[in-house]
């Protein structure tokens, strides 16, 4: 089989699984999850084979696997749609296939497969006491469709197919956030997620239309590897005079990323998205869909940076991207410090880490951004699944002890390391990777590379912001680990927690291998002692995705020391602050930070701000202004006025003209005749004698007239 044919086939098994489950297999939970996992295994196998072929191919960047078909006739031309495996999509395919597979398997245990159905459970609400999820099959249908969307996005060779995958994932995200739609909070969160990301999507759609109009294509290779096209885009002015066409298109596409990757100011949906089941949070809201936003800007890097040369001043578009990314990284990290929900901390941490990648793209650090994208997908999926395992354990505890505590609040946990050893150790690996624990973890290498790049290109503002954010990251991560796993149990529920089943712990172990090992593929050659022992494979490989291989930056000790310092310092501080939180105790930061802590806890009041200044006015515009005032008031008012006026004219015509004049005249004739007839009726007696008399009289008169008066 041709490798291109195989690439076309990779996304299809999960799609088939979706249709099979929805159209009938849903009746059996076992068949449903077997179909879903089996199809994901097929896709995974195909992906691994393609990945292997990709890394063994000669100069994949110049000769990618590519295949297109004509999809849409557009006048004289046609829109071609196809699949592409170049280094960037190969590496993305790799981590997507692994994380998706891990999460599919994890979901079996998470949704209590094998346990009996609890009669009290209802479709649309989470199981109350460890019974199997009532909508078990539906969950697998949705995540299969999701996997199809993500694989499509990765394998696409053009921006339109990417957008199609992007939106299909958006739908699945919506459906899965609201999986337990019976909860009003979940119902609101699903709408919020869809609408917030849609803000970005409509801008992105406009960007696609613009780019398509300007170049006549949306294919990556035809635009991004086409020097004259890029030059043309960078040198022509756009509809906004201050920006080049490339700059404006880039900005429009980037707004799509802001929505999808939950960057400030469109970040508000992601924390609420934690209403969904945990595997969903891990897959969609950590490893794959939110990464797709970053994938977009990494993919279109040559377009976003058109007109910029390495080391030169940033273009306006790049400046915006760098600012949004760096700001989000810090902003979200500060919020994460004050959250108590174990999943919400991770949600804000995801926003923050995605900010790192966005900032990296903004300063032109292509390889670093791609690298962090890969490592983050693994360790963040690991952390989410770990938190799901923790919550599961806690829920068992809550159920066993009948203690009414929130199983997701970290202040109700403590000491879980002994109860849940596998979860603990894997979570620790994930947490350390997130913090950038030196040398051992993947997160260190990728984060260090972003900092080093910012330092080397003298992007001081970005460098300092990201360094502070890294300190906070290590701090809140250690806060989370300490509160959850270390110390003593703070509730009875925590004391009764127990380790999760193997279907849940196995994915944790697999992902933690990657969370450690994947970083070693990208050790810079100039790194002291170990640099060059393993070749910097990642840089060489991924660099092929660009028309020109990016240069490696010279080693500098300052960013390295900063990176190590903030990671270790943050971890230490976190441990020191939280290691002795007693049962029922409050956050040790609450007193010293005072009102600031409250602001952080309330996420800077962004939700309230948006509700008051955007959502409510918009609804007023819809309900009152547009509908009641314009349509009902003005337009219908005018129509009714026209109708009433016509009626008045009509009744005037009738009452003032028709009745008195027209009718009057007609009536005069009719009535006159009638009246005359009435008068003359008296002579119609019916007696022959009288008629004879009248006849004689009249004859007499006529004869007299003829004889007497006739001349």
């Amino acid at each position: 089989m041709q490798i291109e044919t195989l690439i076309w086939l990779i996304p299809l098994p999960p799609l088939l699984a979706f249709f099979m489950i929805v159209l009938g297999a849903y009746r059996s939970n076992r068949i449903s999850h077997s179909i879903a996992i089996g199809s994901m295994l097929l896709s995974w196998g195909g992906a691994m084979f393609v990945f292997w072929r990709a890394i063994t191919a000669d100069d994949l960047g110049q000769h990618p696997f590519n295949s297109t078909i004509s999809w849409l006739p557009t006048g004289e031309t046609a829109f071609n749609l196809g699949v592409l495996i170049d280094p960037l999509s190969a590496i993305t395919l790799f981590f997507v296939a692994w994380t998706c597979l891990a999460i599919f398997i994890y979901s079996v245990g998470y949704h209590n497969f094998g346990k009996p159905r609890d009669e009290r459970d209802r479709a649309g609400l989470p199981p109350q006491a460890g019974g199997i999820e009532p909508m078990y099959a539906r969950f697998f249908a949705f995540i299969s469709l999701f996997a199809f969307g993500m694989l499509t996005l990765v394998l696409s060779d053009n921006l339109l197919l990417l957008f199609i995958g992007w939106e299909i994932m958006g739908l699945c995200s919506y459906l899965l956030i609201g999986f337990w739609y019976g909860k009003p909070s979940a119902r609101d969160a699903m709408v919020k997620a869809f609408m917030t990301t849609r803000v970005g999507d409509v801008f992105m759609l406009l960007g696609l239309a613009y780019l398509y109009s300007a170049t006549g294509t949306l294919s990556y290779r035809e635009i991004l590897f086409n020097e004259p096209t890029l030059e043309m885009l960078a040198s022509t002015a756009s509809v906004i005079p201050a920006l080049s066409t490339a700059g404006l298109v880039g900005l429009l596409l980037f707004i799509g990323t802001v929505g999808k990757s939950a960057q400030w100011p469109l970040h508000v949906w992601l924390p609420d998205a934690m209403e969904g089941p945990t595997p969903v949070s891990a897959m969609i809201h950590a490893a794959t869909m939110v990464s797709a936003g970053v994938y977009l800007i990494v993919r279109t890097f040559p377009l976003l940076t058109a007109g910029w040369h390495a080391g030169g001043a940033l273009t306006p578009t790049m400046t915006v991207i760098a600012f949004i990314g760096a700001f989000t990284a810090l902003f979200a990290a500060t919020i994460a410090v004050a959250q108590n929900d174990v999943k919400r901390v991770l949600a804000y941490s995801t926003i923050s880490q995605l900010g790192y990648m966005v900032a990296a793209v903004g300063i032109g650090a292509f390889v670093a951004a791609a690298f962090h994208l890969v490592t983050h997908a693994f360790f963040k999926a690991l952390l989410f699944l770990g938190s799901g395992s923790v919550i599961h354990g806690m829920e068992h505890g809550v159920h066993d002890t009948h203690e009414h505590v929130d199983p997701q609040d970290m202040f109700n946990m403590g000491g879980l390391r002994k109860k849940m050893p596998v979860t603990f150790w894997t979570f620790l690996i994930g947490g350390f990777a997130l913090s950038g624990f030196p040398i051992l973890t993947a997160g260190f290498w990728s984060k260090d590379e972003i900092l080093a790049d910012a330092f080397a290109h003298h992007q001081w503002a970005v460098f300092i912001t990201l360094a502070v954010a890294a300190l906070l990251t290590a701090f809140y991560t250690m806060r989370q680990i300490t509160l959850t796993f270390l110390g003593e149990h703070r509730t009875k529920a925590a004391a009764h927690a127990h380790e999760s089943v193997w279907t849940m712990t196995l994915p944790l172990v697999i992902l933690s291998v990657f969370a450690l090992g994947i970083g070693w593929l990208g050790i810079p050659e100039g790194f002291p002692a170990i640099g060059g022992l393993i070749p910097n494979w990642f840089h060489d490989f991924i660099g092929g995705s660009l028309p020109e291989h990016p240069e490696t930056i010279a080693f500098n000790a300052v960013p390295l020391l900063v990176s190590i310092g903030v990671a270790l310092g943050g971890l230490l501080l976190g441990w020191l602050t939280y290691r002795r939180v007693p049962a029922g105790g409050e956050d040790p930061l609450k007193k010293p930070l005072g009102p600031v802590f409250k602001v952080l806890q309330n996420k800077y009041y962004f939700d309230e701000f948006y509700a008051a200044f955007i959502v409510r006015p918009a609804y007023w515009l819809a309900e009152t202004f547009t509908y009641r005032w314009i349509d009902r008031g003005v337009i219908d008012g005018f129509l009714h006025w026209t109708g009433r006026t016509s009626l008045k004219i009509g009744s005037f015509l009738r009452n003032a003209i028709d009745i008195p004049i027209v009718n009057g005249a007609g009536d005069l004739v009719g009535e006159g005749v009638k009246k005359a007839g009435h008068r003359f009726r008296v002579i119609q007696t019916g007696r022959v004698q009288e008629y004879l008399i009248i006849g004689i009289v009249f004859t007499g008169i006529i004869i007299s007239y003829l004889l007497v008066f006739r001349p």
């Binding site: 006739p73 649309g124 739908l171 109009s213 819809a622």
Partner: protein, 512 residues
Amino acid sequence: MAFLQEHILSLILFSPVAGALLVFLVPGDRVRSIRWVAFLASLVPLGLSLWLWFAFDPGMQGYQFVEQAIWYEAINSSYHLGVDGISVPMVLLTTLLTPLAILISWSVEQNVRTYMMLFLMLATGMLGVFMSLDLLLFFVFWEVGLIPMYFLINQWGSENREYASFKFLIYTMAGSLGLLLAIQLIGVAAGTFDLITITQQWSTLSQPLTMLGLPITLSIATVKKIAFWAFVVAFAIKVPVWPFHTWLPDAHTEAPTAGSMILAGVLLKLGAYGFLRLILPLYPVEAKFYAGVLALLATLAIVLGAFAAWGQDDFKRLVAYSSVNHMGFVVLGIAAAAFAQATPLVADGVIAVNGAVLQMFNHGLSAAGMFLLVGVVYDRAHTRDLNKLGGLFPLAPMYGGILIFTAMASLGLPGLNGFVSEFLVVRGAWPVFSFYTALSMLGLLITGAYILKGIAKVLHGPLNEEWVGHEMEINRREILAMAPLMVLMLFIGVWPKWILSVINETVLRLFG
């Protein structure tokens, strides 16, 4: 076979009338038989137009399956039919939606025989408009499509049907009057009503027009101008273009379910079809001159239509307003093409019209589907108030799935049909009317808001105890009516080429 080949259009056109006569022969109290006869009769034109679809050759120049017969010889009006790549999809849409609408009318229980006959005659009226190549014939069918709909709303509608049907009738009649005037003027000026002849002679007409022997003479330029505006008003009301749209929410909301399906699915397309068939080819200069205004109105329809839909608490009215929003994209595409004619942007104009025609077809599918689904829930709950519904998903999981699918098609989710046409319109309109296109994105955003509002308020939220124990699930007959729509929504979304290649060839010849 040769007979079929030569008279396929007449057969499609009059088989619904034949069906209506057949229905008339069934005794009025045998409701079951009436329904089945009507349904089976409506399958005949569907089968024939499927044959037409496959026999149609997209690459061929001009109109196909042309039929011409003497009609009003004295005034040079003939029975002249023919189809091209714009009308064939519309014919298919009409003949597809008619049986589905009849299938969903099982819940109608009063005067079933009259109802079914009106429905079948309605189909003939609409098909006639899409097939006519003679202006007088065009007008006759235009009116034939109007009257049955009036009675359907007036007799079988819900509470406020008197007001709605009257508004609908008066409003469209106002447009029709202009249409009749325009057609008369053109007919007298050109000496014929034949569209093909008129199109050929159009630019060379010069003889001033004397009216009825009166001492008034109109120059050809004036005639054309009067006819232009009369056409514009008639078609703008039918589409409807903002601000002529307020008849639509009332008529759609009050009409019986099947009536709303046809109204939104096909009748609105008559207006857009008029723009494409008459205004753009006959008035390229005027159309180009006023294209900016048209684009503005289209954008207002997109944005304000979406906002108004979002502000509704009546599920059906919400869906009705979504038509204003979606048809706005059709008009935007048409406006872009009108402006792009004979400029370097002509290729963009072709893309925009491709999008507009496909959007007409797509909206026919999704709007009909949405109205059907609103009808399903209304049949069971006897309310359309969104605040009284909610939490129905556990009670009607299959209905929920179908509703979400159809709503997503309506929302323009990529992978389903609506996206392809909206993308083409946006792509085509962007270089022509950048500002309006950008503004219409606001409408696209709010489209999400109202669709999700509908889903959330019908399906999601805590289980609605009021309906527990009621049979809320969609039944087999209704699923059967939805299935073809859903298959087409998915198929066009995944593989739009099969229909777009037909549209594209004609559009390229007309506007390229």
